[in-house]
Symmetry: C2
Subunit: 295 residues, 2 copies
Amino acid sequence: MEFKRLKYFLAVAEELHFGRAATRLDMAQPPLSRQIATLEAELGVQLFDRSRSQIRLTQAGAVLQDHARQILDRLDAAYRETKLIGSGGAGRIRIAFVGSASHGLLPTLIKSFRSFYPDVELALSAMNNAELQHALVSREIDIAVARPELKDEEFRRELLCRERLILALPDNSRFSGQSEVRLTDLADQTFVLYPRRPRPSYADVVLGICEREGFKPAGLELTQDFQSAISLVSVGVGLSVVPESVGRTQRPGVIYRPYVGYNPGTALTVHARLDNRAPQVMNFMDITRKFARKH
Amino acid sequence: MEFKRLKYFLAVAEELHFGRAATRLDMAQPPLSRQIATLEAELGVQLFDRSRSQIRLTQAGAVLQDHARQILDRLDAAYRETKLIGSGGAGRIRIAFVGSASHGLLPTLIKSFRSFYPDVELALSAMNNAELQHALVSREIDIAVARPELKDEEFRRELLCRERLILALPDNSRFSGQSEVRLTDLADQTFVLYPRRPRPSYADVVLGICEREGFKPAGLELTQDFQSAISLVSVGVGLSVVPESVGRTQRPGVIYRPYVGYNPGTALTVHARLDNRAPQVMNFMDITRKFARKH
DNA sequence: TCGTGCGATACCTTTTGGGTATCAGACAAC
DNA sequence: GTTGTCTGATACCCAAAAGGTATCGCACGA
């Protein structure tokens, strides 16, 4: 059974005239007659009653007409829907990001993507860098937003933003009154850093900054993620060094301050597997590139 | 878009292996690869992710798989249903018959057809010969059961049965006591005959019998159909001459008697248009032929 | 590093589909 | 009745498409 035959059949069934149907189908009449004859032979059924000058559908033809209409409609729907998903206009992307990204440009990027592709479903989750790396490699996620980035040759990457580091201090800290704090003055403080595992991690970046400033923090508290670290700061366990964007969201018990001292800053980078050419993912990376350029 | 391609695509989508899919489809692997590639090109969409050794469906591929399954199922259903109707195993026949046929072999014939083709819908109606002829020619009906038959070269016909004529007498008639009545003794009676129009009709057949017996009925009442004639007999208006089979159904106020005299009998004949080769109709004629032979 | 497995490509053959010319039958007008 | 016209079917040819075999290229595992 050929698909084209059904289309031909429908044209003849509607025109009830081979010549006109052929014109409508933009073809000559003889091949059309032959195709209908083939269809009839294939079904072993008479579809048209040709005994009069005006042809008419047989009962079997009428039934086939109903079915053919539905089948062609479905086919068209399948065609369009597949193309839509194939072009990335619909479907699903699984995105994971580091906890500290939830305050900065990422939410805006996601809103922007949503406005371009409202029919693409986004499955969001938070992970630390190591988990992001594993999830991306094992294809559990499609997009990883890491800080500052994941080292892997298998990934395609787009820099989302660079930002400076600032201090997150308990609001009862003796430094909280000052508008500017020297990093070296904090040598006697407890630093709350993350993640605990695996090392080296962002915690080591901060410890490296301290070392460069010539001190080692008097106390060190390691948490599994950014959210836990900020919680510890808010209850006065110690202070933390965090990306600037985090400071834009106020949190009870925590105040943010810039500091004087070595500030290499940090970055957010969006990653995808190089071999994941899914149009949804490609589109997300494109939007990211344009978005980063604009901000 | 070709149907074959969808079938091929489904095989590959299920096997996730071109070689195995090709084996299952009983073809070589290269043309299968090409067909899938053509399908992808046609949709402008990647259906399989071939970046790993094990191929996998893309999102678009998964969507197309759903649709393709449904489309092929529908196609199969269309195929089967059309064949069924095309073979006469389902569908509809419009049958009309003379009123006097509803007591004889016709109901049994119809039951017999029903048992052979339970899924064929029968639309039944009663008409006189002239109406049957017109309805059959104008394709308002497919089958006409007439008495004794319709004269038209355009009809295919099967003799259903021959039968003798008998008298239908009012039960208060002076003849109703006799087991046998001479036709010539009825010359002074009123004959109730049918149909009134158009002439000549069955009424004229009966009048011809009287003429051959050498008399003309004293009274003549013409009705439009058999049912009305029997009703008039039952209320004592006169007597009628009817097919033998009618006598098998008793009716209050009417008794049936054979008669002595010229009895050419009558027949029931089943007609269809010669150019109506609808399988349902052909099957009905076949059943009629076998049925008539058996009885 | 080399084999092995798998999909893609090259190239040929067969099948199918479409085109033009023409036939055959039905219907209408004269 | 005869003839012209309309319509679907048939004959025949050519182009396009689909299938087959041989082989390539690439990735993965030993």
